[in-house]
Symmetry: C2
Subunit: 308 residues, 2 copies
């Protein structure tokens, strides 16, 4: 059983969409990544920080999914990171209503000793220096390090971001962020420039338009499943990354062909995430749900053209 280290936020989210709104519910990048990765037979550990206000039932949920939580520090007198946002009618854009860093402001991640030889490391969206400190704690070189990031760090910590990007095998980034990071509009050219920054594999997430995986001159495209309705996009990108990382950890195969499958698994799991608020859908996800949807992805994309 492969080990997977996941660092990222474990948080409270409050979400408004055209379909309704929530109070503070379970959120955070590491939460979504962990829930997605838990679909695979991997030994995953989440490294994060929460406050004394964080409910035991949320921690129990992670433990129920066989996720190790010994790397989640609880600061009794502190408050959990909180994010609140409102999605616009098209669900493709959102306004941030509140960001309260709270305990996250002083987060010094500590990878549990038992996971410092993990084969796969997933660096969820966080300050690049925090991501770097996790890498530095690894005692054996991981087979694969995957980094997710966002435009915020390009605006305020670009040099640090470049340093951590240089150290990773795979970067997952959305289309606008890829353009911002490289100054290139064409995603093909942007991916090439990001390759030159370090990562051998570049995954560009395009939301409802799917995801592209680049490696040297190869490119693979996984569509998003066309859905009648996107109920809440929160966590879809993290779920995609968690599915990708979990599948790689499970198979231990880092060939391009296998990474295509990882992208398909990521898209498949993300297609569930958006069906309900927050983690609601991911909590109840069965392996037969996943199988059924993988078959939908096959019929969505596979064709038979025989060339004479």
């Amino acid at each position: 059983m492969s080990k997977l280290v996941i660092v990222g936020t474990v948080a409270f989210d409050a979400i408004e969409t055209p379909f309704g709104k929530t109070d503070k519910i379970l959120g955070g990048a590491a939460t979504f990544i962990g829930l997605a990765a838990s679909q695979f037979d991997v030994d995953a550990s989440v490294v994060s920080i929460v406050g004394g206000d964080f409910p035991q039932e949320y921690l129990d949920l992670l433990v129920d999914k066989n996720i190790d939580i010994s790397g989640i520090e609880m600061v009794k007198e502190g408050k959990t990171f909180f994010w609140s946002g409102r999605y616009h009618n098209d669900m493709n854009s959102r306004d941030t209503l509140a960001t309260e860093l709270n305990v996250l402001a002083d987060f010094k991640p500590e990878v549990p000793q038992a996971y410092r030889d993990a084969e796969v490391v997933m660096l969820g969206n966080l300050h690049p220096l925090v991501q770097m400190s996790v890498l530095e704690q690894m005692e054996t070189k991981p087979k694969m390090v995957i980094l997710d990031t966002m435009n915020f760090w390009m605006d305020c910590a670009l040099d640090d971001l470049h340093k951590v990007i240089k150290k990773v095998d795979v970067i997952t980034i959305n289309d606008e962020e890829a353009r911002q990071l490289t100054g290139e509009y064409s995603l093909v050219v942007a991916a090439r420039k990001i390759h030159e920054m370090g990562p051998k594999y570049v995954v560009i997430k395009k939301g409802e338009h799917g995801a592209l995986l680049f490696h040297e001159d190869n490119v693979f495209y996984a569509p998003a499943l066309p859905l009648e309705e996107v109920f809440d996009p929160t966590g879809a990108g993290d779920t995609f990354a968690g599915g990708f990382a979990g599948y790689i950890a499970k198979t231990g195969d880092i060939s391009f062909e296998n990474m295509k499958n990882a992208v398909i698994y990521g898209s498949t799991l993300a297609s569930f995430c958006v069906e309900k608020f927050g983690t609601e859908r991911m909590k109840q996800l069965s392996s037969s749900d996943v199988h059924q949807r993988l078959n939908q992805f096959k019929s969505l994309t596979q064709f038979e053209i025989v060339l004479e």
Copy 2:
């Protein structure tokens, strides 16, 4: 050899992109559709109208591609339809600088007698009443009628558009137009509403984000090939439709499985169209170019996940 009737504009275009600009060059929906369909072993006839200013060499080009031009009326004292546009930096939006209808204002299409039993009819973007008059001239029921249209006709001839939509098997339409036609943001819901208007098959073109084919509860997704640079998007949608229609006419197979292939051929040909100004790339396209790019589409989209 199947017969294919194509009705649409044969025109002059003048195009500005960030890469340069052209004088009046060969353009028009039927031109792009015809050039794309000519990649297949079909007997295609273009039904259109031009003025006395239309160069013989442009007509010769179509004849060289084995396209029947007996249905292209030439009005000696008239001027050819002219369109001019300027693309923005992102190449996804454009301003129309000029539209001179000229001879198109009085276009009464006449399908050549030898083609009134054609198996496939491709109604390129034109006033819906003009499209309807072509259908009315068919003496045997075509195996498949494909309609392309645009938002302009929704704004100014919606009732007539609904009448012709009701008569066709396949509609090709872009995402914004599908939303305008149905008032639905979700393309899945929009496709269902368009089904209810008549067409059994709905193709929604999403430009650089590919195309979706809907039929009852089935959906197929063909990505656009990720390109380093899109030089000129003019005619890409018509080229897609022409590839689709040509492949259906060649194979004579209107099953959903075969229509998937038609969509892939359409995307493949459209990926060439945008590489140069106007029809330049399509004029020189060889079948080995097409085979090579179909293989790129395969490696772009095909994966092997074995479900236990």
